[in-house]
């Protein structure tokens, strides 16, 4: 149950920063629904530095989704501290949390979550609309972001005119466009076939390698986790394993014995 000291990917990229992007200290989260009390996080401490590429694994109910909501500023801790990019967000108001999500976090979801019947460009622009950027500037940045994921010519397309892989790339562009401190991806390949999934993962890898983007990805597929540089495994609301992913790792070594038995 002991977490291995994390050798961060930042050292590989050589872009170490003194301030960690994510710093969770003794994080507890308790959900109450009537009489029932669920202790989803039981004292999690985690540090993610700039430029790291972390894969979060664990069975359902292990607390990994709760932690994603916490570090994504969608939810608040019951106790403990969360410092995001040097700013303590544990006591922030709802509005400040929204602003933090807007500027510091780029979300990528399993089901793409684009706004329907709205062009790819407008979707990518949306976070910058909420940030109050001038139309010309945000349009330019949205265009660049779409080009960086190879969809420059699909700017006017509506989500339902795009394939799953293309939609996920638009979502990635949306996450990138506001230049966040990190990208938070929740099962980003869960709805894609293997080939497209690999394409998307390659984009993530490139972003991490070339632009030093900090990426946290939640997955329960070992082959997806293999693209990352560090593995954090949750179990029963605690971090069970935290180690770098090495070149000699493969699907079998990443698969947890218990989870392997399930699948």
């Amino acid at each position: 149950m002991n977490a291995a000291p994390g050798r961060s990917g930042t050292e590989l990229n050589g872009s170490t920063s003194a301030v960690p992007v994510i710093s969770l200290k003794e994080a507890h989260k308790i959900y109450r629904t009537g009489e029932i009390e669920v202790h989803a996080l039981r004292g999690v401490s985690l540090e993610v530095r700039r430029g790291e590429f972390v894969a979060v694994m664990g069975p359902s109910g292990s607390g990994k989704s709760t932690m994603m909501n916490i570090i994504g500023c969608l939810d608040r801790l019951t106790s403990g501290a969360y410092i995001l990019d040097g700013v303590d967000v544990s006591t922030m108001s709802k509005n400040n949390l929204a602003d933090t999500r807007n500027t510091k976090i780029g979300f990528v979801f399993q089901s793409f979550n684009l706004i329907p019947r709205t062009s790819a460009l407008a979707n990518v622009e949306l976070p910058m609309v909420y940030a109050g950027l001038a139309p010309a500037e945000r349009r330019e940045r949205a265009r660049q972001a779409l080009e960086s994921v190879g969809l420059g010519e699909k700017a006017a397309s509506l989500p339902n005119q795009l394939s799953g892989g293309q939609q996920q790339r638009v979502a990635l562009a949306r996450a990138l466009a506001s230049n966040p401190a990190m990208i938070l991806a929740d099962e980003p390949t869960g709805a894609l076939d293997t080939t497209t999934a690999n394409e998307i993962m390659n984009i993530f890898q490139n972003l991490n390698k070339e632009r030093g983007m900090t990426i946290v990805i939640v997955t329960h597929e070992a082959d997806i986790a293999l693209h990352a540089l560090r593995l954090v495994r949750f179990r029963d609301g605690l971090i069970q394993e935290d180690r770098p992913i090495l070149p000699e790792d493969d699907i079998l070594t990443l698969q947890h014995p218990l989870e392997a038995a399930h699948s």
């Binding site: 909501n69 994504g72 969608l74 939810d75 709802k94 509005n95 929204a98 602003d99 999500r101 807007n102 500027t103 979300f107 979801f109 979550n113 684009l114 706004i115 329907p116 019947r117 709205t118 407008a122 949306l126 976070p127 609309v129 909420y130 940030a131 109050g132 949306r174 506001s178």
Partner: protein, 409 residues
């Protein structure tokens, strides 16, 4: 976030589902249109009554001879206006009542007016010189006849617009001589046009003369006949008191005992007109309120659709919140949607209402009167409806939990 972006977002969202938007808007269109049409209709009716009142003259009462107890001979009763119970002494007595400002006898006749090769059959009203003031006639050309003309029964005539136009075909009638029953009459004045009365009668198809002239030259009767007396009370309030005083005075003068019926009839035209105007006003309020209910129903329709829309778009709201929209932006967006919906509906409603008002006015042959206040208030009310009925759905959207909203299928 910029205000303009909220507007754009709302318009974009409304444009995504055009049929739903149009149908929702229809409720407001009908509501606003109905309010404007109904209020305009009511005010048009009011205005019509007002015009008629103004056409009748100043605080006018009319006393008709005959009817009631008066027996025109052989025990046969006669309709009002046909009897000869009124005399010019009655007129003088009435004039001395404290509530009466002016009074004139009216002697009526018909005549064939001839000028050159033109001729025209019209009704002639004989009165004294005060009639022009009592009826608030305006003189377009020339002048009204004078007290001297009445005393000497001179053959002077003031023509209504229709008569003057027909006989003179645009030439100047003042000072010209026309012939009626082979007697020459001098045209001294022409009345300004009054248009049609409420009964569709051409009020300009008339001619005025001294009543003495009508009695002596136009009516072949041994008795100097007075058809009715028209009086002007000192004020609108005094008209009812004037009616009582005239009734008392004439009963006494005509020797009618208690229990016996009057041989005359006093009509308080001003009072009748006021009643009609009040009725029109009440109708305006009534129609307006019924229409306002339809606007309310439209508003509830908006709320219903907005609530459905918020539920339908739960996931979208979750996405927006996740990528950094504050709750207040979500609230503003939904509020903007309902307000834009209502204001657009309101604008179309104003157009529909104005069109409807003109249509109804044209069909009823009423003066078309569009109430700018009604249009303004109805439009404003539609905007308020948008805010009032849009707030709850918008608030519901804004207070969603992003995590749950994102999970919504």
């Amino acid at each position: 976030m910029r205000l303009l972006d909220i507007q754009k977002m709302a318009i974009h969202a409304l444009g995504k589902n055009k049929i739903q938007t149009a149908l929702t808007m229809l409720g407001i269109v009908i509501g606003v249109g109905a309010v404007i049409a109904m209020v305009s209709l009511g005010q048009g009716a009011s205005k019509l009554v007002q015009e008629q009142v103004a056409g009748l003259g100043v605080n006018v009462l009319q006393i008709q001879g005959g009817g009631g107890n008066y027996q025109g001979g052989g025990g046969a009763r006669q309709a009002a206006d046909q009897g000869q119970s009124l005399t010019s002494d009655d007129v003088d007595a009435i004039r001395n009542l404290p509530t009466i400002a002016l009074a004139t006898p009216i002697a009526q006749a018909q005549g064939q007016f001839v000028f050159g090769n033109q001729n025209w059959q019209t009704r002639v009203e004989g009165s004294n010189e005060d009639y022009v003031e009592i009826r608030a006639y305006k003189i377009a050309q020339g002048e009204f006849f004078k007290a001297d003309d009445v005393r000497t029964a001179s053959r002077v005539v003031v023509l209504g617009k229709t008569v003057a136009d027909t006989l003179f075909q645009g030439a100047d009638p003042i000072g010209q001589t026309i012939r009626i029953r082979n007697l020459p009459y001098q045209v001294v004045g022409v009345l300004a046009a009054k248009g049609q009365s409420a009964q569709g009668q051409d009020q300009d198809d008339t001619a005025l003369m001294p009543y003495t002239t009508v009695q002596k030259k136009m009516v072949n009767s041994a008795l100097p006949r007075i058809n009715r007396i028209v009086v002007s009370a000192v004020s609108a309030k005094a008209t009812s008191a004037a009616k009582d005083q005239i009734t008392g005075l004439l009963r006494e003068r005509h020797g009618i005992r208690t229990g016996q019926q009057d041989d005359f009839r006093v009509n308080n035209i001003t009072e009748a007109a006021e009643t009609a105007e009040n009725t029109a006003r009440v109708m305006t309020y009534l129609l307006g309120s019924i229409a306002a209910v339809s606007l309310l129903v439209g508003g509830i329709g908006i709320m219903n659709i907005m609530l459905v829309s918020v539920t339908e778009r739960t996931r979208e709201i979750g996405i927006r919140m996740a990528i950094g929209s504050r709750g207040s932006y979500i609230r503003l967006q939904f509020l903007a949607e309902s307000v834009i919906l209502c204001m657009l509906g309101g604008l179309i409603g104003v157009a529909v209402g104005v069109g409807l008002s003109f249509g109804i006015a044209w069909y009823m042959e009423w003066p078309s009167y569009i109430s700018p206040q009604a249009a303004g208030i109805a439009f404003l009310f539609s905007a308020v409806t948008g805010i009032f009925f849009g707030y709850y759905p918008a608030h519901k959207a804004a207070s969603m939990d992003p995590i749950e909203a994102l999970r919504y299928e």
